[in-house]
Amino acid sequence: MSYVERHAYDVVVVGAGGAGLRAAIEAREQGLRTAVICKSLFGKAHTVMAEGGIAASMGNVNSGDNWQVHFRDTMRGGKFLNHWRMAELHAKEAPDRVWELETWGALFDRTPDGKISQRNFGGHEYPRLAHVGDRTGLELIRTLQQKVVSLQQEDFADSGDYESRLKVFQECTVTRILKSPDGAVAGVFGYVRESGRLFVIDAPAVVLATGGIGKSFKVTSNSWEYTGDGHALALLAGAPLINMEFIQFHPTGMVWPPSVKGILVTESVRGDGGVLRNSEGKRFMFGYVPDVFKEKYAQTEEEADGWYTDPDHHRRPPELLPRDEVARAINSEVKAGRGSPHGGVFLDVSTRMTPEEITRRLPSMHHQFKELADVDITAEAMEVGPTCHYMMGGVAVDPDTAAAAGVPGLFAAGEVAGGMHGSNRLGGNSLSDLLVFGRRAGLYAAQYATGLGDARPVADDEQIDRAAAEALRPFGAAEAAAGGSGTDAGGPSGSAGEAAPAVPVENPYTLHQELQQVMNDLVGIIRRAPEMEQALDRLAVLRERAERAGVEGHRQFNPGWHLAIDLRNMLLVSECVARAALERTESRGGHTRDDHPDMDRTWRKVNLVCELSDAAGGAVDLHRRPTAAIRPDLLDLFERDELLKYLTDEELDA
């Protein structure tokens, strides 16, 4: 293995967004040598795109708030498919996680009495989101990044080496989790994007914190990094994924110009007073309040407008329904021919706030529209439409320890983990999720690694050879198609080690575009059985073609090669999404079936689980698993009438 660089750590964290950095900080604070691996530069993770805030029931703005209310809102938002224990831990621990950030230097916006200010958001009963204008994610990332640096400074003072106990391997991609013969995690395999060098990190505990899968869709708010890496790594390592049919389409993405289609328009625009109108000027959301939410939302514009100043005596505006409801409503308006010129609807703050207030409260939205669309949001309405935003599904984890089911030593936190948000996530619950479960994953990964003592699992060389050949195959494909051999691109000679394909090599960019089109058109926001069947057929063809994805050039910072490797993950994850979505014959949260438009209480008891039939990359196998029964004292937080909308009579009487 002389061509493979080798390192050893106690805990490896894959991903340097909010969850990954929080996990790494915790593992390091437990005294373990920790490595963080990220595809981008340190501090650039997709978390910076989060705008609205961190949901935590600190009760700074409305003292009626507490963890129980937050828990209730979260369960309602997820249509009761959430793992109740995750929702409970999340609601209980979020305030401490936010306060802790202040001790690391974070500067949130303040209330008049100097506490952390909290803002309203869709689905949250009280003002709950700690925020910094509309750039909260940036504040979160920068604070965690600076905490990492401060720990490195401590280590430097101790040892003269900043990286002696906590090292960030930036611009590196992990392609495989390595395991010992008895199935425990032994480390990771990956490559350095800059140089193309391959590396192995031996480590008994691996935390996946890779975020989401949005890059499988054409219209998405997600960055290029969101190729479902952690989801696929877990599957390939033998861990199951759950809830993969639930994808959140954020209701408000930019729709014009085409090159920015999908980029997020923060929900704070609505939380702060922005309203949605169709081409007839009508505030259409009043017509889309579903029965389960009827008592909680205003019926008239007057009542809705009163809520911003006097929330105790008015019901909230329907623009602040959970995201799935708003996204579907916009979709329907556009379909009915009442859309805006570029196929969205109008989101207007210009008639609701003074220009000064808009630029103060929504500075980056103002900037974004001005720079990218030539629209001045203080004077005119924005055009917005749904965009693929968040994957509710992910690695099936133990709620307390974030340990992945079935693979000792594997942990997952943040968007890559499933269960916390059920069928739909509330805005603001993502940043808090990252912190709460990032910390837990780091803590329990550290405990697990410590508990092993010196008996650390080891990956055999053959596994490493296979991972190397897989990573280098795109060069081999190009070589084989050219009929040549012996270029130095592939590292180990004959790297691909496969017969020359008689068919032409595929362009990874073309394959990616086709995949995005398939998912967007056939497994998008509104789903139908025949379309999803068609999608599965086309995914199978794409998966086969992707085996022949080839690239030119050499290994140094070669984006074509990187994409060719990421394609494996996107295709695997897309197949899980399509299979699970086809199976679930109801509509719930981020899963809407045109052919099964209603929510069905019996489906609430079911999690759909995806696993690979064999870890070498076999077919996706789908099965059903009952959801965990909700603890009675938590059920008591709801009225029976409300529970009856979600739970079957037998469940309630049990």
Partner: protein, 257 residues
């Protein structure tokens, strides 16, 4: 507006050397320079190296020099150029090239580590922090920084003076010192040690800055780096040391008002 073909000149190469390469490439309505670079990747140069993440001016990854000016590629609209203009895209000049438009920005990460972290106030528990909005706003302005390093690239102290890199933290990280200096609860100097402003002068090369404001001009976040961070920092440091530039700077400012 309709699609047209633009002439691009993109620097291709690596640490060993390279040069500008010409491309004719399609441009559509509403596109930005990064879209065009991506189209080149997808159609003419699959191995063209470029960094990017958010495509919305929020992550600071896609920094390059466009017609010689440091800018974010994702926030530079094609409509600011005429159709017959040749658009030249080159990597950031102040940092070593890795490949094509990707540079080695590790200088910045090294400097970040040299700035001592926030020191929490003793005896104030988490959850008990109280700060007024007006007091946090000054540091909040600096925390808008997306670490695009355009200011670091443009500052003449290091742009063509490799030899200054050891002693000079650059505008982004001097601003980080200012941010901590203005943090209402930072306790760095609580034990009688040097203030943040003093260490900016002694340890991070604040004295090299002669307040030309070039950094402020390129900042995509429109942070007033010079006026709000560097000059106040110099003024606070000067309580102890005489610095003619501050004196001059405040004169100029007054006259300009």
């Amino acid at each position: 507006m309709s699609a047209y073909t633009a002439r691009f000149r993109v620097w291709r190469g690596d640490a060993e050397g390279g040069g500008l390469k010409d491309y004719d490439v399609e441009v559509n309505d509403g596109e930005v320079v990064l879209d065009i670079i991506h189209r080149l990747q997808a159609t003419q140069a699959t191995d063209l190296a470029v960094r990017w993440n958010c495509k919305a001016g929020k992550c600071g990854s896609c920094s390059a020099e466009i017609n010689g000016r440091p800018r974010l590629m994702c926030m530079t609209r094609m409509s600011v150029f005429t159709r017959d203009e040749t658009i030249t895209v080159t990597p950031l000049r102040a940092f070593p090239v890795v490949r094509d438009l990707v540079t080695d920005v590790s200088f910045n990460y090294a400097k970040a580590r040299e700035i001592p972290a926030f020191v929490p106030p003793k005896g104030v528990a988490a959850g008990e922090y109280r700060m007024a909005q007006v007091d946090v706003e000054r540091s909040q302005e600096f925390r808008k920084c997306i670490e695009c390093f355009l200011c670091q690239d443009t500052c003449h102290v290091v742009r063509d003076h490799e030899e200054n890199k050891g002693a000079f933290a650059g505008p982004r990280f001097l601003m980080r010192v200012a941010e901590l200096d203005m943090h209402p609860l930072d306790a760095a100097a609580a034990d009688g040690g040097p203030t943040r402003a003093e260490s900016a002068q002694d340890d991070h090369g604040l004295g090299y800055c002669n307040i030309t404001k070039c950094c402020t001009e390129v900042c995509p976040e429109h942070i007033h780096i010079t006026d709000n961070a560097l000059i106040p920092l110099k003024e606070r440091a000067v309580d102890r040391k005489y610095d003619p530039l501050v004196w001059l700077g405040s004169k100029i400012r007054r006259r300009g008002q």
